[in-house]
């Protein structure tokens, strides 16, 4: 098994944090894992992305030329990465922000109004965690309890209340989608 996931959004939407937590979760679940962030001459408000490879075996390349899953939090990310996704892969869209349709008819498309759900929960910054809830519901890549533990670990010294609201956000994203693979 080798699953590559690309997460992308505006800088500040928590894309790198959610990728870090996913990679940590995969490590805790006993997999080989690599996490590769985009780096370079980035600007605030620009696009940030990261790639997480999860495998039973040693991982050759941390880069995904054909990711199996794509999680996008904003429209430019959809345009940039949708055509890279492997045939039969899946796309997870934050439909509160991504208003356009994906052109990939050979992939499974999951639309989650993450920013709206986040508003309802009371913290608009939890949209990333809501997306992860939906993502892990469908893919089952990492068990939820392990992911949540990793999320806390990665958040580290942040306030307990932040961790608590992210737990609720995860549950909201998880429950939003009815199906799983």
């Amino acid at each position: 098994m080798m699953v590559k996931t690309l997460l992308s959004g505006f800088g500040g939407q928590g894309v790198l944090m959610m990728g870090h937590a996913l990679a940590h979760g995969a490590m805790s679940a006993g997999y080989h894992v690599t996490y590769l962030p985009s780096y370079g001459a980035e600007v605030r408000g620009g696009t940030a992305n990261c790639t997480i490879a999860v495998s039973n075996d040693e991982i050759a390349s941390p880069i995904a030329s054909e990711p199996d899953h794509l999680v996008v939090l904003n429209t430019p990310s959809l345009y940039t990465f949708q055509n890279r996704v492997a045939r039969g892969g899946s796309l997870f869209l934050n439909s509160s922000i991504v208003s356009v349709e994906s052109s990939r008819h050979d992939c499974r498309i999951y639309k989650i109004p993450a920013s709206e759900i986040a508003e309802k929960i009371g913290n608009p910054r939890t949209a990333n965690t809501i997306m992860m809830g939906a993502f892990l519901k469908v893919t089952g890549l990492v068990p939820s309890d392990i992911y949540l533990h990793s999320m806390e670990e990665v958040m580290g010294s942040k306030k307990k209340t932040i961790v608590e609201i992210n737990r609720r956000a995860f549950a909201a994203g998880y429950d939003y989608l009815k199906e799983s693979l």
Binding site: H20, P62, I63
Partner: protein, 359 residues
């Protein structure tokens, strides 16, 4: 075993501190900024730890010279253009036979180039880099775990041979996270008599690279050369992967070696017997070890993220006993395993199992 998920750059910082590094000086440059960032945070927490953000790369390497002369395990880090600036100091370290660890997270060049992962500094690193004719030990990690292990080893080797040792990795290795387990560092073996800590009542000591008498300078050159020969004989390291039945052997190091492993998996699924020879020490290059493989296989393919630098060492090692092909992507392009798979199909499989010689 305590496994942690950490970024390559930070792992180097942590491994260095665990190995007893107590002095770091550096100047920011992408893609290695997390090393000084980590050292700035961690070094003041350990006893005797000193972090300095210097005014330039040249200042940083010269501060390292001072710390090393005073008997402290010292390190600096940079990326390609910054490493060029440090060469004067690295030459001085070699001349004065002072141990130090230098990290190069290579980026695309020449010149300022870009900030993407590259392997264009192989010549510079393995041939000394600065003026005057000297060598540095050069270690090329291919996993984040190896970055931790080799950083610790670099300090030991530097002390053992009183020589600068370099970790040669690239932006991708520095930026990516992988799980890592820190090994127990070995206790430091470095005689106090070599440390400059004030003469006190004793005789004054001098460490210098300026030797005006040509005969004396010549003798110093031969002394260094004898040391380099010992290192070349006893410190080579390499990994070979699926070479038992290999009819084609890929030769790659660092990030390129990871990509090669991915390609080998695909090629073997297609029924081709392909293996990998991965030098871990780039200097000393594992010449004899590679030459042994020429007895088993006639086909080699060198794969680098450059226009062909290690290629020359492979040619020197194989000395015409085997056919050598080449595939390179310089300038900060990171090729995929699929690309390399296609290259092998074109240059080898479709040529009837005979690799196309690179001219």
């Amino acid at each position: 075993m305590n496994k942690v998920l950490m970024q390559g750059n930070r792992i180097i910082g942590e491994a260095a501190i665990r190995a007893g590094c107590r002095f770091y000086a550096g100047y920011p440059i992408t893609p290695q900024n997390e090393i000084p960032e980590y050292m700035a945070e961690r070094l003041p927490e350990v006893e005797g730890g000193v972090f300095i953000q210097s005014e330039s790369e040249i200042a940083a390497i010269h501060m390292v010279i001072g710390a090393s002369a005073a008997g402290v395990r010292a390190m600096t880090s940079s990326s390609s253009p910054g490493i060029s600036l440090k060469q004067e100091g690295i030459s001085s370290l070699a001349a004065c036979e002072l141990p130090a660890v230098i990290i190069n997270m290579m980026r695309g060049g020449p010149g300022l180039g870009n900030i993407s992962p590259s392997q264009g500094d192989y010549f510079q690193a393995t041939r000394g880099g600065g003026h005057g004719g000297y060598r540095t030990i050069v270690l090329g990690p291919a996993t984040v775990q190896e970055m931790a292990d080799l950083t610790m080893d670099a300090f030991d080797l530097a002390d053992q041979y009183r020589i600068p040792a370099m970790i040669l990795a690239d932006g991708m290795m520095g930026q990516m996270m992988e799980p890592v387990v820190f090994k127990e560092p070995k206790p430091r073996v470095y005689p106090e008599s070599l440390m400059m800590r004030g003469a006190g009542e004793g005789k004054s000591k001098i460490i210098r690279g300026l030797i005006l008498d040509p005969l004396e300078m010549e003798e110093h050159n031969w002394t260094l050369d004898r040391k380099y020969r010992v290192i070349a004989q006893s410190e080579t390291r390499h990994e070979h992967y699926k070479t038992e039945d290999a009819e084609l052997i890929l030769v790659a190091y660092g990030t390129a070696a990871r990509i090669a492993k991915g390609a080998i998996k695909r090629l073997r699924e297609a029924g081709l017997r392909v293996g990998l020879f991965r030098p871990i020490t780039l200097w000393p290059f594992p010449t004899n070890e590679l030459r042994e493989f020429a007895k088993k296989s006639e086909n080699f393919l060198v794969f680098e993220m450059s226009t062909g630098q290690m290629l020359e060492d492979v040619r020197l090692a194989l000395q015409g006993y085997a056919r050598i092909g080449f595939h390179g992507r310089p300038g900060g392009v990171v090729p995929t395993p699929i690309e390399l798979t296609n290259v092998v199909m074109h240059q080898y499989d479709r040529k009837g199992g005979v690799i196309e010689q690179y001219q």
